[in-house]
Symmetry: C2
Subunit: 249 residues, 2 copies
């Protein structure tokens, strides 16, 4: 059961303003919920269909801090931020922002990514390639937007997130800075780097020219066909596959 006030509270969390105020975010869906419940994250609420709760009794027992609310499909739909709600929704504490920024390891810097699907996919890519830090400019979409959380498929658990002025941040970097642009050097002429920063720009405008100027390696994926550009998340994946060393680091 959920009270009216609880329903209103959960619904408010689709907005960044209320996520910030309460310092929590929403994670939805069977697989993602199982991944979060299996972690040591602080789960505030579990809102689930009866079947789902019965099947995941053991997992739920690991979270005595959590209030469990069994609801009907129509109530789940009411509080869900997704178009097709899926068995379970969690309200989770946003972890404290890491104060230690990446030093001599890989990181990804995002300059104004707007699409939540792209952001979530990039978080998942970082996690796949063992990259543990993502830094984003202030105008980049919120790391904890429900669609970002959905697309990241639980990878939030293994990434440290930073919001920062990217110009100042790039100025202090002590590693090679790769910046994805249409007018750089071919990625096939570059070697993987043990530690580096990869800068990815806004879907339409690319990277701010002031930031490109700070990059040690403007880099391009050579085009063989007719498309004008590649999707930002796809570019991130391709560049990571060619620039992050194949061996775990």
């Amino acid at each position: 059961m959920l009270s009216k006030a609880q329903i209103k509270y959960i619904r408010s969390l689709t907005q960044q303003k209320y996520r910030k105020e309460h310092n929590v975010f929403l994670a939805e869906g069977d697989k993602i919920a199982a991944e979060w419940l299996g972690s040591n994250a602080n789960i505030r609420m579990v809102v689930a269909l009866e079947d789902w709760a019965a099947k995941h009794e053991q997992l739920l027992k690991k979270h005595p801090e959590t209030s469990l609310h069994i609801v009907t499909p129509s109530i789940l739909e009411l509080v869900s931020a997704l178009q097709t709600p899926n068995q379970v929704l969690l309200v989770i504490d946003i972890p404290g922002q890491q104060q230690t920024l990446p030093d001599r390891e890989w990181s990804i810097a995002l300059d104004g990514i707007q699409d939540p699907g792209n952001m979530g996919t990039i978080i998942r890519i970082a996690d796949w390639f063992g990259i543990r830090h993502i830094i984003a400019s202030p105008e980049t979409v919120d790391f904890y937007n429900p669609k970002v959380v959905q697309a990241a498929m639980g990878s939030h658990l293994r990434i440290s997130f930073h919001k920062s002025d990217l110009g100042a941040f790039l100025d202090t970097a002590e590693v090679p800075i790769f910046a994805a642009t249409l007018h750089g050097k071919s990625v096939y002429e570059m070697k993987p780097a043990e530690a580096a920063m990869l800068v990815i720009g806004n879907e339409g405008k690319g990277i701010d020219s002031l930031l490109i100027a700070k990059a040690t390696h403007p880099v391009t994926i050579p085009r063989r066909g007719g498309a004008e550009s590649l999707n930002a998340a796809v570019s991130t994946g391709i560049l990571c596959s060619l620039l992050v060393p194949p061996e775990a680091f």
Copy 2:
């Protein structure tokens, strides 16, 4: 202006059934519309805001076959298949299915991709890498779904689409068949191929095991971190960047 019947007709085209019946599809948004109007595609209708039509007068003149409908933002919103309609919408003839399947060149085969964003992004990737054929199993999302068209950003113009039973198709292939799986050989141990087929599976289930058995090269992108999998479109991009020769072919 649009009549009630025209509004109903355009709205019906968000459904595959009606796209098939009328053999047309929807393309929306400023950039995509400009790309289609610049091509020799047969455009049935242009539905646009007055400003947009005025700015694109020259482009519109190239299409005497097309009926132009100037509408208000609220009418555009009414007929749009997108959450945020954007200045212009086209109704375009679906090109006749190519009878000649790819022979000694690159192609991508999709086994049950469900997400329209993934499908559109894969079409854009194929176009970027100069791959001209995409074959999809019958249960794959429609090539002409409005969200697919939007994510493909005009790349439909340079790709031939085929729906086919993939098993029979793979049996006749005379090129190496790369199949993306979590349990194949590392892509870093493989060489680019002048001609090949890349098989990509459903977002959750991957490629049908009967199809994997037909692949000459089950291939894996080695994981360095914690994510369980990569997004299907991102995997496609990474595999193309490593398996399609860097030189245009």
